[in-house]
Symmetry: D2
Subunit: 350 residues, 4 copies
């Protein structure tokens, strides 16, 4: 078993890491880090546990540490669920101290030496780690997972990108309140309502999607150049971001069958690796036009599946679909754990 630390352990993403790592076959939680306000307290007193499962017994009384590398000397690596306002400095400090960081924060996602990783899409990008210079001996490095919209979008686009090429896309998201953390969205703002804007969300979508679909040549990425026009909205769902997208393709499929085949034939490059968080079926293509739905499907395959629905030829551009995935599992903590699993299998973590 590898020993892991969790940075930002009392926040919404940190809690999800704790929940998801219970019973993990490879990783066990060794240390929890949070802000000064929490440090020194028992976890049960420092955190307002908002998960809908029991707070694990052995976590309850764990003393929360400061997020300083010196306090995490006996972990093999850390997961970071830190807020972006502090993640930049802290994650750098850990990497410089020789502790690998598997981060959910946005700070290093666009760093050209840092992999923005979804194992089913770009597992070879892990090799960027070798170009990092955080620590002299190369022991410390950073790997990130994408934003909770870029994750389902990129997963939905990957087979189209491979089979038909992408020229442009227009999307509207309908995002769940859990994406804003806790306390996050005020109930008066969202009960029976739709909010047509989420601060900072839209500018991430294009760059992260292009980086995910880029090609690693030697030690740098060559990016595709399609444009993305995104409108991000908040709706009163709890878990599961829904995306409605219409895509212009370079070589559009002749018909719906050919379109579906792009998904059915997609070869998940990590399918054979036995990664514990890898969904058995990466894509769930729903035929029922009323599906997928966040409340019904977000938890399928432990929240790691990508749900596609309403796949169809479009009157404008070429293809329309809706895509949905669990935003705090597939789109955050679960994705980071899957990244750590791939990095373990590849020997970067040990």
């Amino acid at each position: 078993m590898m020993k892991v630390g969790i940075l930002g352990a009392t926040g919404a993403v940190g809690q999800k890491f704790i929940r998801l790592l219970q019973g993990h076959p490879w990783f066990e939680i060794e240390a929890l880090g949070a802000s000064e306000r929490s440090a020194g307290k028992k976890y049960k007193d420092a955190a307002n546990w908002i998960e809908d499962v029991v707070l694990p017994e052995h976590i309850k009384d764990t003393i929360v540490k400061n997020c300083e590398p010196g306090e995490f000397s006996n972990v093999d690596f850390v997961f970071s669920g830190l807020d972006s306002s502090v993640a930049g400095d802290i994650e750098k400090a850990f990497a410089e101290a020789g502790i690998p960081v598997i981060s959910n924060a946005k700070n290093y996602r666009q760093d050209p030496t840092v992999p923005l990783l979804i194992p089913e899409i770009n597992p070879d990008h892990t090799d960027l780690i070798k170009t990092q210079s955080f620590s002299k001996d190369g022991k410390g490095w950073i790997v990130t997972n994408p934003n909770c919209v870029a994750v389902p979008l990129s997963l939905a686009l990957k087979p189209l990108f491979d089979s038909f090429g992408i020229e442009a896309l227009i999307l509207t998201t309908m995002q769940a309140v859990s994406g804003a953390g806790y306390p996050g969205v005020a109930s008066l703002d969202i009960l029976g309502n739709v909010v047509p804007f989420i601060s900072g969300e839209e500018p991430k979508v294009g760059p992260e999607t292009r980086k995910l679909l880029s090609t690693l040549n030697e030690d740098s990425l060559s990016l595709p150049d399609f444009d993305v026009q995104a409108t991000a909205t908040r709706v009163p769902s709890i878990n599961g971001h829904m995306i409605s997208a219409t895509v212009k393709l370079e070589n559009p499929p002749a018909d719906l069958e050919e379109l579906k085949k792009a998904y059915q034939n997609y070869r998940n490059p990590v399918a054979e690796l036995g990664l514990p968080f890898s969904p058995k079926a990466l894509y769930n293509l729903h035929d029922n036009e009323y599906y997928p739905q966040p409340r019904l499907h977000a938890d399928w395959e432990n929240g790691m599946q990508l749900h596609l629905g309403r796949l169809r030829k479009a009157d404008v551009f070429d293809v329309s679909f809706v895509a949905m995935a669990h935003n705090t599992i597939r789109g955050a903590a679960g994705g980071a754990i899957l990244n750590a699993e791939l990095l373990t299998k590849k020997g970067y973590l040990k």
Copy 2:
């Protein structure tokens, strides 16, 4: 005062007609029609009143009639909130009997002789009435209002269409549950959820929008030919359909200012007519990026205003915005009443 009948008076749209016509300066309710099951009963016993205001006293004990023209001989015209499964025959029967029908049903919207009318967009289309042949003396005719998505969409597009020309558009709707009538959407389907499909909704959007923006030449319409790609979803809001749209223009504006001016300078063709249901300000351009919101804004200007937000130049196509209007007022019963007001002013109703 003109005497009006309401067909489908016990349904959700019928109830909205009753509510909105209280205190109307020109129209008073004379007769209520519904299905056989309701006919002969007092309205208060036939209808499950779901409006959030008091059922007017004088309506409570009104005896509901069958939807037969013979029972409506003393009305000047009827509003129809009938379900489309029966509206085709009943509305035709009324028109043939010489009773004008102001309809919210979809059945005759694509009839080339029937105006699909939004007074602020295409008031001259009323002249199509002269081409109708329902009744020999021309006394009976049908005018329709558009679907509750086509209404806010067309209102949002009209200034763009006039100023810059439209080539294509892609939109996603987030529609309120009141749009499905009563009982409509099951709570288990929508609480904390998003449903990515609404049966029959998407195919109406393009044709109705094109008809609304068409030009009347002599006695026929010449339609614009832009394509529309729509995805209609249901969200847990109560009133107010939100639309997220991105539009390709023929002659895009140079900048955001020019874009805004298209709305600010739009001349509402019925602004001077003193129509009671006409909003003082047709367009509400929200600068606050988090606006408009269905719960906060749907009722402004008695539910008749078109709310625009997030107006911006787009990376793909030319312009993105969100548009929102009250779906059962502006998008249904209120729109029909405004139509009747215009038709009164023009002398078609008297």
Copy 3:
């Protein structure tokens, strides 16, 4: 027209005061006060307007003042929507400076010289003002309205108290999120959920209800001694607190008819005074067992009506009912305005 100031003008209750005072026939807003953070700013910049109507034009650019009596020298009195953490000192300062305070805060509700006032229940308690010693000349004083649960509860109990006497009662509340102000309840805490506790709420219910139903003898109140057992819960409704209560009476009615008559015969002591915020019908006794409902009925009679439903003889104790009223209108700002109206009619305000 009397000139009024609003303390705590940028908060949820302050916003409601601004909304409700638009077009008031007796009172006009002269000054707005808020915290240091807001003082000096235009109201539209200081406040995050959350009402579902337009922010009045003339308020938008009003400069917010500090809550200091010296800045409110030209008002006739102030409404206080201050948070209880600051209301104690500020309200006292205004009263000492000779400015009457009509307060929604809890701080002085249990002061034996301060009226806890609901005009339809205890209008004579205004005479307690004469016992106050805030200002030497008696020009400054404080009158409070009760907590948003005590308001509907007391209104529902008053006819029972008068007709049958009350021995004890047990109640459970289902309270709307607007009662927690803004941002208030986190959406993750309440979407699709029930929270069985509201901090500080239950201990107010008994004492405030007893004070409201007390008798003024000379210059002190003699309190009834019935016990109250309350459980306060939060549910995902927006406006309108629902109360489910079962009451033990001293002399229970013989049957449901006699019980209903207690309400039908209740003589509203301020009915004849022409107070603008007084509902035409104080009690709305719903026969439909599924009524009242917060979403349907909270706004009836401008949010000032008390809705009763499910009135019935009980198997345990004597009587059960549900009561519902708009929590931020009848139960807060609207109640305070009605108090000011009564105090004007009685000559205390001028």
Copy 4:
């Protein structure tokens, strides 16, 4: 493995039976029965699957049968999730045909020969089966589980009943929409709302609770005689009925500690039997005043745990608490499965 049939398999309760029986160590689904409309169809075509997990593969293509005993000849017993409008006749027919019926329907709950069973409360009531005369050889019989309110209420009361005796109780429920089945509650009725009445619910609470807490003497039950006053309301939660109760006891505890001990010391009579659906900890006494919450806790211990919160001495009567359990698992299908497990262990099913 025993072979089981499910009557009413396409309904909400039937679907829950199918979901919960996946992977059950003792029972496997052999046959599915539904109405004529569904009979002859594949299950996936007959049912609108509303569970938030995958419909099991081997169920998808199972042909639905009519609910006639002849079609269920190879099952060992049936679970009934039938609607009460048809359960009376069908369940009787199965029992008469020698097929044991484990029913969730209300029809036979008050039959003096039919056990109304919650294994943790009254496991000995199974002996009532011997007094039944549905089938001559005694092979066919009926056992029922209580209504979804009586289940958590009785579980919450049982330790109080044993330790202190119960004289009377007053309760208000806040019930989730899943309790109304599908389509059940219209979204327009419950979004942002509270409905203060649920048809047919309140009259069940007292009789079922008394029967559950009764003593079996020879072959009949002697019932306790406490009164129950219930108000049943619907709130916009999805799963988990919340109950707020205040109880008058015969010999009240001296303090809160003694009260808590009644729960801590309660000896679950089936704890040692190894029943798969039996929760490890029957009672979860939450110290956090904001707990339990339906959304957070309904699924704990596979939905079979009884959650207690806000346990306290009361100002009126003696004790107040809130109780919450999953209404369609603990309060319906899961409870029925636990009943079948107990009946298996006792040799009634084999």
